[in-house]
Subunit: 258 residues, 2 copies
């Protein structure tokens, strides 16, 4: 983020519009003009113009002209990002080869606020072989990819992120203590991989490694997940980790040539 933008370069109404879109959530799926103005800290006149413009553009809808809600077109904005991801298409064949090698599902994800978001996924042992699940979001604290992505951030950012979120005890194994999570993330930095043992759901183990750009910045995480009854923790480390690491090297080589 560039904090040096000149005031004359800043398009304030664009910021306001994006804030209006982001202010809708599960607690506030429908809002009146007054509610939107209050939540985004706008004048009523400003909120009205933004809502009318978003409605005209198809991003917001209203049945009665009073209660506004987002419309599915908003999804297309997020999809612009997914379809424009330069490394997603490139990584897919490597992901597929890895999934075939280990005969388990493999995924690639990026960080977005408190979630990891799947940008590619190859599933095995399923009725469908096409890659469902792109766009899927999972909590960052309970997943191997989440901890790998957090490990790629500076310490202050990790602390800020973890303090803002409220980890939930999804299984008896979920680590919800912030200090313990920070220790785990430091361990990920030392080792270069993360293992999540039935922390998201009983029965699911996964192991993840970071994918880094030319400058050493973590841009994505890659994982293999398997059923706990089929794959022990030791097997994950002995059998899967070497394959995962060599796939990461191949993907990084391809990305660095971009």
């Amino acid at each position: 983020m560039d904090s040096t933008i000149k005031k004359s370069d800043f398009v304030q109404s664009l910021e306001k519009g994006l804030k209006v879109i982001s202010t809708f959530d599960s607690d506030n799926p429908k809002m009146t003009l007054t509610e939107v103005a209050k939540r985004v800290d706008l004048t009523r006149a400003n909120a009205r113009r933004i809502l009318l413009t978003l409605q005209y553009l198809g991003f917001v809808q209203t049945e009665d002209g009073k209660q506004f809600s987002l419309s599915p077109k908003v999804l297309s904005l997020g999809y612009s990002y997914l379809s424009a991801l330069p490394f997603q298409e490139l990584a897919k064949p490597y992901l597929k080869a890895l999934a075939e090698e280990v005969n388990e599902s493999c995924s690639m994800s990026v960080l977005d606020a408190n979630d990891i978001v799947y940008v590619a996924r190859v599933q095995t042992n399923r009725i469908m072989t096409i890659s469902l699940g792109v766009g899927t979001r999972l909590p960052v604290y309970a997943t191997s990819m989440g901890r790998v992505l957090l490990a790629g951030l500076p310490d202050e950012e990790v602390q800020k992120l973890l303090k803002e979120m409220k980890p939930q005890q999804l299984t008896p194994n979920t680590i919800i203590d912030i200090d313990q999570l920070i220790k785990r993330i430091q361990l990920v930095r030392e080792r270069g991989w993360a293992l999540a043992d039935q922390e998201l759901e009983i029965g699911v183990r996964s192991i993840a490694c970071p994918v880094k750009d030319k400058n050493g910045l973590t841009i994505s995480a890659l994982n293999i997940s398997g059923h706990a009854s089929r794959v022990s923790k030791d097997e994950m480390l002995e059998k899967f980790l070497p394959h995962l690491k060599s796939t990461v090297v191949q993907i990084e080589n391809a990305i660095h040539k971009l």
Copy 2:
């Protein structure tokens, strides 16, 4: 969409900013200022201010100050929509009950341009029971839910949408002829359900019904999918369709009370 917005109410820079986000895609994941200006039909000065503002807000990133690309924060916009969907949370328990009744995966989706987007999904016969796949996109022409959602649109819109997209022969069963697709959609309107028989992928059959609002507008589609070797077309119609229909009635009753 309201076509009667007054010129004085229209926030043009918001429109421009959203157009800039949407202009990135798989063919143009990284663009220079000049390229963005050209594609969105902006002056260089305008494009510059918008890119700098989006960069400041964290929606756009640049490594060298010349090539710009979208950043994962863009996904959070789409997620605002998903988390704010009033009927998503409400529908989940019904979806879960349906999946248990028929012992097959059930999904709910909405239409976004040429795709259906999963807003809820309950999967069976899988290692994971948590609902993966929300946000997943599948082509509208090859899916039962896609055809149900198209059937809910006026004829001109269906024709326009189908003519803009390029259906691909995903399996030998995929219908790619526009006229034949339109006939199928008319059939969906008459029958109230759509069946896709291995058109997206060999081995997968699915049946879908529309979920309508108080005014009779289709707001979502509900489906049951199963492996072709386990469930015949006749079984889908005889065993699954009645359960699907009664679940739709329950969900509609709950939605109409909102």
